[in-house]
Amino acid sequence: MNRFSYLRASSVDEAVREAASDPAARFIAGGTNLIDLMKYNVEQPARLIDITHLPLNQIDETDSGGLRIGALVTNDEAAYDPRVQDRYPLLSSAILAGASAQLRNSATTGGNLLQRTRCYYFYDPGTPCNKREPGTGCPAATGRNRIHAILGTSEHCIATHPSDMAVALAALEAVVHVTGPDGERAIPLSDFHRLPGDHPEIDTTLRHGEIITAVELPAADFSRNYTYLKLRDRLSYAFALVSVAVALRIDGDAIAEARLALGGVAHKPWRDPEAETLLHGHPASEDRFAAVADHILKDARGYEDNAFKIDLAKRAIIRALSQAAAGTPQSQTDKRIQ
């Protein structure tokens, strides 16, 4: 691991000021991804700014009836908060589908969004990688790519974003609040992560020196008809091959509103609002769910090891929509898929 200087920030302003003045500085909170990357020399920050003492660890009600989750609220605290469990069980379920109890105790809400891909090549400084070293190439495209993306890829990068939490947040239309050298701004979750395009080294729209202060959940009534269905190579403590977050609002026997986001298939949580509108005003039916799945995957491109994900994603979408419509969300402890 590289040597670095350490600063314990005592205010958001101090953290922002110190980070903005030093391009080689990085914030650290839970550390569960950054320390790992430093141990592999993938990240070599010259300076770490410890933000764990900042007052960003509360979950508060918003004036508009939503919740504001502080950036330092741990994954465990967010998942088990009674308000989150009651009003946003999709978020609770997605968080509990990820990582382990130990990691959820350290990992934070802000850090979860900023974790890097688990692409094997990105993690191995002995190989080229456009995300780690721009311009060196993407060995994943022609190499081992079982865990890689099938949607929104570019010739420069086929990595996925690994978060489960962010997939639920995309479906719930969360907003990321940040503070930077130029003041505060709010970024819709769906605009927070970006597609790789020509700059796969840039994961998010966050600017250097900006710090995530909170994630806001708008008021919503998706507590009955939801599910987070995660499919992976082992039943627990593994990243998604494909995951589906679904939230439905059902009026009578018709779907009044539908939200659907996919994980494990793209460089960001994948939403397709056009596909969601195919459900509006219609009763739940497998034929319609299949049409939605076909629409979402219509531009998917499989690679040598991951072409199976296209069919897997379609089936997962149909199953997840069925679970949500029936009000029988996927259990994260009993792994049988009903």
Partner: protein, 171 residues
């Protein structure tokens, strides 16, 4: 190791921190990049906590910090200043094993033993959390602890025994 080589800004040498480890306050000066796991093993000679993968994937390094189980390999010691740390060495009281330690013996819940300190610290925290009732739930909430020998069935038996006897005692 010298911290200040090269670069215009001299790197700090050491930072004073206080940790309460197994009930005992310990003051020490640490380098910023010293990881909690290495501090426990190399500086405090508490070698019960094991280094398995060193990347947060195996759980052998699990310790309890301020009542919560974490991977000590994924934490800088300097960031835990003021924290209360319990390791496997701190579980027995007055020569009497913690009930989960005894249950591991009763159920032969290990073979090589390398993952065992992490399994037990994780299991102790799991029992405190009080969220696991069924075997499925125990397995899920213990999934952060890998056992290469495959003693999982007996590990779940041991944890189930302690949860059961706690519930009985509470009646």
């Amino acid at each position: 190791m010298s911290a200040g080589q090269g670069g215009a800004a001299a790197l700090p040498e050491r930072i004073a921190i206080t940790l309460t480890v197994n009930g005992e306050a310990r003051q020490m000066d640490v380098l910023p990049w010293t990881v909690l796991l290495d501090l426990l093993r190399d500086h405090l000679a508490l070698t019960g906590t094991k280094k398995g993968c060193d990347h947060g994937q195996c759980g052998a390094c699990t310790v309890i910090v301020d009542g919560r189980r974490i991977n000590s390999c994924m934490a800088f010691a300097v960031m835990k200043d003021g924290a209360n740390v319990t390791t496997i060495e701190g579980l027995a009281k007055d020569g009497v094993l913690h009930p989960l330690q005894q249950a591991f013996i009763d159920h032969d819940a290990f073979q090589c033993g390398y993952c065992t300190p992490g399994q037990i610290c994780s299991g102790v925290a799991l029992i405190e959390e009080g969220r696991a009732r069924t075997r499925d739930e125990i397995r899920e909430f213990m999934s952060g602890n890998i056992c290469r020998c495959g003693a999982y069935t007996n590990i779940v038996d041991a944890i189930e025994q302690v949860i059961g006897s706690n519930e009985e005692a509470a009646r």
